[in-house]
């Protein structure tokens, strides 16, 4: 049973992470990551070995740093201007039984406007699976895996932090 205190801390962390991503506060978002962070958006369900699959996105820590750097160049056409977006997180389930790492699953919906081109409203529903770890007393994110409801049918540009 997760303590209410831990649950509150984790929920605050997830809400903060979501807000930083929505607002393209890239350095602050990146500061939440551990050195072994793994970021994965498979082209189907979350199952099997990520390294053996072709995914929408499969970033180790080095590549996610590149992703952030690219967004910060000011020349990333697909985020010029950046997408106005907000996400809602719900159905948070916490498994803190592991060896120092906390596993969390949550549902999310992102609403995004493609201001860079057509201006359409894009809706991104899915489940996020997080792994969190305490580093120097503070929660950090060591994995974020995203299972999109739409994973099997293809995507519009996905160049924000999902």
């Amino acid at each position: 049973m997760t303590s209410l205190e831990l649950r509150a801390e984790i929920t605050d962390f997830l809400h903060c992470e979501a807000r930083l991503a929505d607002e393209f506060r890239l350095d602050e978002w990146e500061a939440l990551l551990t050195d072994d962070f793994h970021y994965w958006v498979p082209a189907g369900r979350i199952q099997g070995e990520p390294s053996e699959q072709l995914a929408y996105l499969n970033d180790n820590r080095t590549r996610v740093a590149t992703r952030v750097r690219q967004l910060k160049t000011g020349k990333r056409l697909s985020q010029l201007p950046i997408s106005p977006m907000r996400r809602v997180i719900s159905n948070i389930e916490i498994d803190a039984e592991g060896d120092g790492e906390v596993s969390v699953i949550a549902n999310f919906v992102i609403y995004e406007i493609a201001v860079q081109s057509s201006g359409e409203l894009r809706v991104w529903p899915g489940q996020a699976q997080y792994k969190l770890r305490r580093v120097d007393g503070t929660l950090r994110m060591c994995a974020k895996w995203i299972e999109l409801v739409t994973a099997g049918i293809g995507q519009r540009n996905l160049t924000f932090l999902i």
Binding site: Y56, T66, Q70, T73, S118, E120, G152, G154, L158
Partner: protein, 425 residues
Amino acid sequence: MSVDYQQLVQIDRIHSSLLHDPEVFAEEMEEIFVRGWVFVGHESEVKEQGDWVTRQLGNESVIMVRESEESVNVLANRCAHRGTALCWEQRGNSSFFQCTYHNWRFGLDGSVRAIPFPDGYDTSKEEFSLDVAGQVDIHRGFVFANLDGSAGPLADHLGSAGYDLIDRLCDLSPTGEIDLSKGWIAHRVQSNWKLWPESDSDGYHVGFVHASMSDTTDTYYDDVAVGGEAVRSSRAVDHGNGHIELDFRPSYQKQLAWLGVTREQVLSYCDALIERVGSESAEQMLWDGPPHAFLFPNLFLGELVIAIVEPVGPGEMIHRHTSVQFQDVEEKFNQRLLRQTEAAVGPASFITSDDAITAERIQAGVSGTQRSWADRGRGWIDLSRGLDREQVDDMGVRSSDASDETTNRGFWHRYLKTMSGRASA
């Protein structure tokens, strides 16, 4: 008013109404995707008997299925009885296809196998087979189909250049065979499908559209496609018949640049290649790498990525890609190809996501133009860059600086031949 393609496609410009006009789109789906040869998929996707995948060829949903070791069929995904789609999943394995409406059952060759209560029919069962592609032909695992069977042989369509481009890719695999069974990823783009053959083979935009990538990370594209030196040494090539290439071979600064590794990192791969093709050929191939080419109308050979251009509507398309996997290499070698693919191509990639935005911005820019504007000088798209400095070799292959629009013109030249009804293939 019928579409006057001769007017709308000139040597040095095209009219932008071709990128959104619904009548043009409808005629393309017939002339190009039904009457012409199109790429369907790869044999490695259907290795076992009964393996099938669904695919979209223009407006037509088809099933590519392995009937036997020798035979891959392309069937209309449409029951011969009342038209119900037979398959919904992207792939599967079946010994037959059964319609869910009245349980009609069809074999892997499309012939009808069972009809419930058959006594109500006077005609013989043979009358009720599925529509099958009129022609299917395969080169090194690449399956092509011509739905209505009227296009003449595949060899006339691909020409020696088309075969050579596919060969240059496959030859790099230690066994000479590649595998495309890691699944396809669909990038949904709000643009006309024809903007992608152009984008995939355009050498002019790389330093601009992809500046954020060049600024962020070391990439071999800096040597072959970005900046004055690169665009002068690499070549934009029109092989004829709409098959076009950005030839990066003259620009690579070292062997294996296209793989982003040193020789020491892939020694066993290099040894296997030498073993099969001999030292001299292998050393050259390790310099040259795989081609960056587009085969008319829908196949992109994007070095170690293969993509299909799928029209959906006049302003909607899918760029569907997968990663090339080599046979008989270490697992980590193929995993490197997967990671390289994810970085380069797709909705969350560092490169083609910016091509998608560019295509969508072109679509937004041209969506209000009218065919009737053509003779009033409005709504034209210029494709004249480098027209006066092209070289033509004795095979008729045109080439120019990589930043020249030779590739774009090559695509549209073939398009005009097909759409104006004068193409033999």
